[in-house]
């Protein structure tokens, strides 16, 4: 028996629920030596902004217990070079191409999206990175306020008919409220979570370990937080959720799906085991066959809770 691993993220059909997370998979090329990218459900590319960005001053990364901190600072080649030099590479793989975009303002978000819309290259969906801290609207992160998240999503909805996935930050009091706002504004799905604000200090030098003092925590350490956020969002909205945070095995995928995620993204684990996402797909297939699970999608949101 061949288990069916297909899942749907709203209008976006994926051959399996294993995607790779923005900023942890380069533009795909870096991983091609290690496995055939067509195995993946989808690739989410590094965040693209309108202009190229050099990123933050080093040191940009620090290792912590079961996690890492980063303050890369959205280093990227800019939308034009992305279309010219990076996106063509991914076209040859039969996997969903999801382009992650960001902007300092709603206008920049729209400008990036318009450039991508004009391209003839295949793009299957957009993921909106709502976690960058510098925005015109009072310097607040896009997904820190439901009003702002709603306004930006509505503005972007007008630019494209392709699936829009709003990527949410966990660094808010009420993530479900933000999810509700973007769903109302027309987002097709949400992905959760981006990194958690964190910090590391060197007791000998009494200095921070990151050049920008604070950064984003990712890796196995954040999986419990991510599961809780997916669960909170699941209770609040009907649109599909993509779970992100510390996924490194097929068991992790199953846990996220049971809690309510329709798919997951593998992030930090790609750095440690470059063919990790491919292994997870194979392990999922094997598990489903052994367990007689015909349709993996049936698992979504099956968490048993005794009240």
């Amino acid at each position: 028996m061949n288990a069916d691993l297909q899942v749907a993220i709203g209008p976006l059909a994926l051959k399996n629920p294993v995607l790779v997370a923005s900023g942890t998979f380069g533009y795909g090329e870096e991983f091609a030596p290690y496995f055939d990218l067509s195995i993946l459900g989808g690739v989410v590319t590094k965040t693209i902004t309108f202009e190229a960005r050099a990123g933050n001053p080093p040191p940009r990364i620090a290792e912590t217990t079961a996690g890492m901190l980063n303050s890369i600072g959205l280093a990227n080649v800019g939308v034009e070079a992305f279309l010219r030099e990076k996106l063509p590479f991914l076209q040859r793989f039969s996997t969903a191409i999801i382009v992650n975009v960001a902007g300092r303002s709603t206008e920049e978000f729209q400008a990036v999206l318009r450039c991508l819309e004009e391209s003839e290259l295949r793009i299957d969906a957009y993921e909106l990175n709502y976690s960058c801290p510098n925005v015109k609207e009072g310097g607040m992160a896009f997904s820190a306020s439901p009003q702002v998240a709603h306004a930006v999503t509505s503005a972007l909805r007008k630019v494209t008919r392709k699936p829009l996935i709003a990527k949410l930050t966990p660094n808010v009091t009420n993530i479900a409220e933000i999810a509700r706002a973007v769903a109302e504004a027309g987002a097709d799905a949400v992905s959760a979570i981006n990194t958690l604000l964190g910090m590391a200090v060197d007791y000998r030098t009494r200095g921070p370990k990151l050049g920008s003092v604070v950064g984003g925590l990712s890796g196995p350490a954040i999986k419990p937080v991510a599961l809780a956020k997916v669960w909170e969002i699941k209770k609040a909205v009907d649109i599909p959720i993509i779970g992100i945070g510390g996924v490194q095995s097929y068991e992790d995928v199953l846990e996220f799906m049971i809690v309510g995620a329709s798919a997951v993204q593998v992030g930090t684990a790609n750095f440690v085991v470059p063919n990790c996402a491919a292994r997870i797909v194979r392990d999922l297939q094997r598990y489903c066959e052994q367990q007689g699970i015909c349709r993996l999608a049936d698992l979504v949101g099956t968490l048993q809770v005794n009240n």
Binding site: G23, E30, P57, P58, A62, A75, F271
Partner: protein
């Protein structure tokens, strides 16, 4: 092409109080690796330590199908690696990174190593000797015990000059003083410098070479989360005329850079 390799440990020798020399059976790596390149080692199948640990290729034996690494115990990762015994297997990703480029014919390659910076330069010296060149190796450390492994270094057909900061072996002083002396002995176009060691040492190497009009390459170290260009964590400031900062990735564009590529002053 880099790949994942499961490498059996064939030997692990302690060569000083804190330094180990690890021999791995790795025929593909032995064939593919070039001087300056590194392998990224997964310490254990557990989330701590999370990242792989980059180590330079110290030596290859293509006939025996083995590679050697030379490392110092600094923290958890290298401590666990130091305890690995023959029969166990090491998960190595590689070969990764850029390589030293050949010195022009008729020039003297001068290799300047500070401490564990000897690791990539030892491999480079071996290759130069195999190619019929006779490099000058300048090697410095804090104290005699840290000048290791001298058994390998004394065996081969190159010129070796030593320096220690406490004077317990070789010249009393810094390895960069040996460099200044060596450069003063020759016309600038007759030498090519290759250096690896702590950043303050590299800064001094670049300064001395600039003063003598000598060109060369340096091998850098940074923290690395991936080692193959995916995380953008290993950035170092690039040298350029633009006022905007720009960066180079040590794992992918390096670890070997020309003097002109990176800005060690920032």
């Amino acid at each position: 092409m880099p790949a994942l390799h499961a490498c059996p440990v064939t030997r692990n020798e302690q060569v000083s109080q804190t330094v180990f020399r690890l021999t791995l059976h790795a025929p593909d790596l032995a064939l593919a690796a070039a001087p300056g390149q590194f392998v990224n080692i997964r310490i254990q199948e557990a989330p701590v330590p999370l990242w792989r640990r980059p180590l330079s290729v110290y030596s290859v034996d293509r006939d025996a199908g083995s590679i050697r690494l030379l490392f110092e115990v600094r923290g958890l990762g290298t401590r666990i690696l130091a305890a690995s015994r023959p029969g166990t297997t090491v998960d190595a990703l590689g070969p990764l990174g850029s390589t030293f480029s050949a010195p022009p014919p008729e020039t003297l390659p001068i290799l300047v190593a500070g401490g564990l910076g000897i690791a990539p330069l030892h491999f480079w010296a071996e290759e130069l000797v195999r190619a019929g060149r006779r490099p000058l190796l300048l090697f410095g450390a804090r104290t005699a015990e840290a000048l290791c492994p001298l058994d390998d270094l004394r065996r081969l057909a190159w010129d070796l000059r030593l320096a220690t900061e406490d004077g317990t072996e070789g010249v009393h002083g810094m390895v960069t003083e040996l460099l200044a002396t060596a450069l003063a002995e020759r016309a600038p176009q007759q030498t090519m410098v290759y250096a690896c060691g702590p950043v303050p040492m590299l800064r001094e190497v670049v300064r001395i070479c600039a003063a003598h009009g000598v060109d060369g390459q340096i091998c850098l170290e940074t923290l690395m989360a991936c080692g193959f260009g995916a995380c953008m964590g290993c950035a170092v400031p690039a040298r350029g005329c633009s006022p905007q900062p720009s960066y180079k990735l040590v794992c992918k564009e390096g670890p070997v850079f020309t003097f002109a590529e990176v800005d060690l002053e920032r």
